[in-house]
């Protein structure tokens, strides 16, 4: 008789999702799916609102990455009103976004993902978590908590509100950075960079070598990749061109404002969330493990795969080492974690660069703004993937139409496939236990949804 296994909720992730596995009469996997259960309707309910208010509304899409929604939205509103932010306004936005990346990656690696590797994928769930890590290694836990808090409190102290920020405004930023603040933040970012380098060194020595077998197999699928690069093809988190790479490594670059020509969204009957795919490949959409169609991934591994290089020295050195081990592009899903730690180094280095830009303390942070009719597409790389906000406004500057593609959404198809792949390879002849079910979840957790 067939059996249904429901893993719900998927834990140590940011969203609301479950996994449904159906076993056939022989106890092998007949079907395994990820169900995405959240539907809130931001695209609809921002209609009619003054566009300049929307960056303070859509931040509530995600409380882990509100800066990214807040800033993609601000960029879209700038576009609607035809305003270019002042150079310092843009720099301050990028500074906040980059530090938010640095904070987020520490949160994901240590608070959400690490327990699977440090405590062990099949350990008792009561200790397989950050609380277990704190008990097993209080010294490391204290350092993690302090450093992550330091990054978060930079944002909190300067912008005054970091969960659901308000300091990004149409035309730039709400307040300038004072020289004393710059010096203070710079010193803290140097310290966080030290910790980022410690973390990637620790992971390369103590974690990844132990899990090489799992890295080569768990949740591995074949897909394309999407990420943002600058004019030189280097990784960029705040803006630039979008690059869509095919599984064979060839790629197409395009302006984010043209995203509709490149990306489509497929709807499945079992998920409120939609499934973006590369529409311009003209091969349709399929999550078939052997012959996927239109499937690409976003988030750290995708960005590391599509970038030709990284413009900061320490992150570039890490990228070179990574590529020498795994090639380009690599499809190994668990390498999202490794790629995340490379980006952590980049985010710290980039924040330091911005803080050393003489323009960063210029008091001219906000351009003059007149509301009006227009269209704007705002795009940034959120921790969980490429984030697109696309709005139209009427003559009064009220939103008439909004389309959003948020970071995690790009990975819904790939996560489904990774779950399917992991379930099929781990569950055989009815042999299933808690450890196996957690390993299937690890295939999801790598994407940091």
């Amino acid at each position: 008789m067939s059996q249904v296994i429901t893993i719900q909720p998927i834990t140590r992730i940011e969203g609301h999702a479950s996994i449904g596995i159906t076993l056939d009469d022989n106890g092998n996997v007949a079907d395994a799916k990820l169900n995405y259960q959240s539907l809130r309707g931001f695209e609809k309910f921002v209609e009619g609102k003054p566009a300049e208010e929307v960056p303070r509304i859509v931040s509530r899409i995600c409380g882990i990455c509100p800066w990214h929604h807040h800033l993609a939205s601000n960029k879209a509103v700038d576009g609607c009103f035809g305003v270019t932010p002042t150079p310092t306004g843009s720099l301050l936005r990028e500074l906040m976004q980059t530090i938010a990346h640095a904070e987020d990656k520490l949160l994901h690696f240590f608070f959400l993902a690490a327990a699977d590797f440090v405590i062990g994928p099949t350990a008792d769930y009561a200790v397989r978590n950050v609380i277990g890590i704190a008990q097993a290694n209080p010294e490391l836990a204290t350092r993690v908590v302090k450093t992550r808090q330091m990054a978060k409190m930079i944002l909190d102290k300067f912008s005054h509100k970091t969960i659901h920020p308000v300091a990004g405004v149409t035309g730039g930023f709400a307040k300038p950075l004072l020289e004393a603040e710059r010096v203070d933040i710079l010193a803290k970012m140097e310290e966080i960079l030290d910790f980022a380098l410690f973390t990637i060194g620790f992971a390369k020595k103590e974690i990844f070598p132990k899990y090489m077998d799992a890295i080569q197999t768990l949740g591995v699928i074949t897909t394309g990749f999407l990420g943002t690069v600058d004019d030189d093809g280097a990784l960029n988190l705040y803006g630039g061109r979008l690059r869509m790479m095919r599984p064979d490594g060839t790629y197409t670059d395009f302006d984010p404002k043209d995203y509709v020509d490149y990306i489509g969204e497929h709807v499945e009957p079992n998920s409120y969330g939609k499934y973006p795919y590369a529409r311009f490949w003209n091969e349709g959409f399929s999550m078939d493990l052997d012959q996927p169609r239109g499937i690409y991934r976003s988030n750290t591994l995708a960005r590391i795969n599509v970038a030709d290089k990284i413009a900061t020295p320490r992150a570039q050195a890490e990228l070179e080492e990574f590529r020498s081990l795994f090639g380009r592009p690599t499809q190994a899903t668990l390498l999202y974690h490794y790629a995340r730690l490379i980006e952590e180094v980049y985010a710290c280095e980039r924040a330091i660069e911005i803080l050393q830009d003489p323009d960063i303390t210029n008091p001219n942070v906000r351009a003059k703004v007149e509301p009006g009719a227009g269209r704007g597409v705002g795009c940034v790389e959120a921790p969980r993937g490429t984030l697109i906000h696309d709005y139209s406004t009427d003559a009064n500057g009220l939103i008439t139409r909004a389309n959003l593609i948020v970071g995690t959404t790009h990975n819904l198809g790939p996560m489904n496939m990774s779950v399917n792949q992991a379930a099929r390879s781990l569950i055989k002849e009815g042999q299933v236990d808690e450890g196996i079910l957690n390993q299937i979840e690890m295939a999801v957790r790598a994407y940091d949804p």
């Binding site: 409380g63 949160l107 609380i131 808090q149 969204e265």
Partner: protein
Amino acid sequence: MTVKVASDWLNSCSGCEISIVDMGERLLEVLKVAQFVHLPALMDHKYFGQRGDGHHISIPEADVGILSGGLRNQEHVEVAEAFRKSCNVIIALGTCATHGGIPCLANTFTNQQIQQRYYTTETTDAPGAFPSDGLPPLLDRCMALDEKISVDIYMPGCPPHPDHIFSALVALVEGRPAVLPEKSVCDTCPTQREGKGQLKSLRRFLQAPQYGSAAEPLDQMRCLLEQGFLCMGPVTRAGCGGDGILPRCISARVPCRGCYGPVQPHGNQRLDMLNALASNGIDIGALPESVSMLRFSGAHGRLRPPLP
């Protein structure tokens, strides 16, 4: 003594949970006296058993249940009811749980309108039917927690400040009632009030307010409402600044939008604000819409679709 805590997020963004993490090193103190038995953000306890073979949502017994997010679908209601059964004290954490929060802006549209837009955007291959296989059905509107279960402690905020989450948890462990701010944002705002004077209408927030140098403290700046910007401080519960008191958004030189919900638990932020403006002779016709005044507190039937 150790207090058993269960926590979950419903129709939420996870900002409240991040605010818990933002207690920083105090979190490590809390973990010494609180034993978490269910916490999807950080630990792996499952609704349907650890092997996924159960048929009913099961939440372990706990002294304290913390729920963030409002109610948007049937499963949210089932989880909330399971929490009520298993927990002695229920805390509604965050404005979504206490007053509906931003997701309740959806309540000015029907579910049909929302799904129609979401599944027909310019990038979407419109489906024959909206997804429903094995999915929890949507409620007919987005609700606050107490529209379905009784709540013992209301802790609004988008998100609630870590200082207050910490002090409330410590109070619960010590068996004392949690003490939370009850004044208005204006009561805790140090900006200079000189009277509304000649102010006759309000402006949208499209330019920076007047103030001296950026280094000047907040008490040197004139009240943003008196400068002609819509600021929801008069009708919003204080607390966003935590133990540091100063309101967060106003400190960033940006007007308040009301994220802690109404000053009185059952107050109506839009009605109270419109009354306050009208009694000062300030024209509200210049503002393009007023739904946004209820952007944080649209549950309890305050926001509804317009009559056909």
